[in-house]
Amino acid sequence: MNALLDALRLHLPVLPVLLPVATAILLLLLGDGGSRGHGRHQLLTARRIALVSGLIGLGVAVLLVLQADAGVLAVYRLGEWPAPYGIVLVVDRLSAMMVALTALVALPVLLYACGGWDAQGRHFHALFQFQLMGLNGAFVTGDLFNLFVFFEVLLIASYVLMMHGGGKERLRVGLHYVVLNLAASALFLIGVALIYALTGTLNLADLALRVPQVTGPDATVLGAAAMVLLVVFGFKAALAPMSLWLPATYAASSAPVAALFAIMTKVGVYAILRVHGVVFGDVAPAAGAAASAALVAQPMLLPLGLLTSITGVIGALAAQTLARLVAWLTVASVGTVLAALGLYGESAWSAALFYMAHSTLIVAGLFLLAELVGAQRGLAGGNLEPASPVAQPALLGTLLLLAAASSAGLPPLPGFIGKLMLLQASSGHAWGPAVWTVVLSVGFFTLIGLARAGSLLFWQVRQDLPSGASGASPRLLAATVSLVAASVALSVWAAPVMRYTEAAARQLADRAGYAAAVLAPAAGVSTDTTQPYTGRRTPAAGERR
């Protein structure tokens, strides 16, 4: 038993990747009973396997968070190759939090999908698990190229999931989505290759040490590489000039897929924080800080984040359907998080993490809620126009009210706490007044947009139309309620979560500690890290120490 526990502790960082992929392979072997698999025993078995795997995944994520909260920076060297030569998985507080957030979103979404959506196409559960593998892998990897690989894994799964359910509109939007993402992947590779050429490493811990040391003309090229990556990550996160794809894609996806994609957008945010916040965030201690590529993204991130927020809320006010409204709110919330990242301070990053946790849960819940409401309104669906009354106005209305108040940032809900942390962190900053103006007015207009939607959906009913719709099934309701409740719980346990995010932000700023942990066996981080490749192989240096 002790040996088993030891093995579990040893291999804990790799479990968030291995568990979904093993589940997915199992589900593929099981098969899905063809395209009309509704009610078949394969589908029922697949649901059980997926839900059990989701539960175990949540357990693993909780263990990781507990471990990270104790201050352990878990480094997992695949094949025991020492970093920076081998590939590492690193679980710090931020990674653990993101893995936990993924599991927290995935489980209710999976439950919701089991209410019928998973029978609308083929291999839903296997693809869902592959998506989780990509998400978790992107969050725990400590290597830039592996980040690319996990991006691809999650994207390929998302291409198919996005079109789950079929239909012309989905296919049309899906083609755009796939082409845009493939172009972005090409840019990702260009950025990664440039960074490798100039620093000789792709290990994130090693890169953080190398970037401030690159000076002169090389630093200009390195800065360009970082900006190329900002375009890629900004595209995934829907940063301002590149946010228009998101509402179209998310609104066209089926509800559980859109809810899962709420966490996929956050991969872009996570990557920006990891690469542009941490790796490119350190100013060289010696002179010549201005000449290095460090902080190259700083002048762009804050204004673009604020612009994203404004774009999102304008789109939300103009939205014609509830799903599109929620999709635009996703853009607005991402903008708020990115603006907080752009402030480049520990307290601002802490605010960003808190707000990100809240907005992911609330947006996922809103996507599910949008479909529940739409399904009870007859032909009008989620369109924001007067229609027949919904069957469960009190329950759905309360959920929408809670979610709306939280995303608008009304006390005492977690959206308010997140925004308050952000406003506090920005006071004294040169951009402080702009942040205050944008965050507060975006909150106000979010409230207007959701209030308009809520009153249209629940109060302006047309009695001449037959209502007829029955209530939603308990399973679908449980999934939606648990997502909204998880978000509200963030408010109840705000103090421990805030302590955690503050510690996470401190840990991110401690680049030396991160490097020491990751590059530990090298025992001499500053002297024995990589260099740009020269082609000469001397007997003393090289792969053997």
Binding site: Y159, G166, Y196, A323, L379, G382
Partner: protein, 145 residues
């Protein structure tokens, strides 16, 4: 004047990238797929070139003191090629499906100037669309039961 190898490779990558981008911006799905493929080739050569261009160097391991080309970009480009294959296969299939479902190879799913898809999912389809959907169900509002 003799052109250097660096100039040749760099301008070659640039030219292929430019062609890829131009094709990517076309309105038909086949040129778009070709553009993505060209872009992928350019990027792969670019990764390869980021290990520097070597002449008379051994590929992976050599004697002590001998020149060895950088092996890491070779490994990276291999991964990128494999992923590129998979995604190209997927997008070809997707383009074919889109052509079959919408009756046109335009990336917007309808000919320019023709009435297009309804902008919002959940609305009933407009009459007079080119080529009817083959068994596609209306998007949205399907799972809530």
């Amino acid at each position: 004047m003799m052109l250097s190898m660096e100039f040749l490779v760099a301008s070659g990558i640039g030219w292929v990238t430019a062609c890829g981008l131009w094709l990517l911006l076309r309105g038909r799905s086949f040129p778009v797929v070709l553009g993505l493929a060209l872009l992928g080739y350019a990027v792969n050569v670019f990764i390869f070139a980021m290990g520097r261009l070597w002449i008379n160097a051994q590929p992976i391991l050599g004697d002590v003191g001998a020149t060895v080309a950088d092996p890491l970009p070779q490994a990276l480009v291999l991964t990128a090629i494999v992923i590129g294959f998979a995604t190209t296969g997927f997008i070809i299939e997707l383009a074919l499906r889109s052509r079959a479902d919408s009756g046109t190879d335009h990336v917007d799913g309808h000919e320019p100037g023709q009435p297009g898809q309804p902008g919002q999912p959940g609305q009933p389809g407009q009459p007079g669309q080119l080529g009817d959907a083959t068994g596609g169900q209306p998007a949205g509002g399907e799972g809530g039961r």
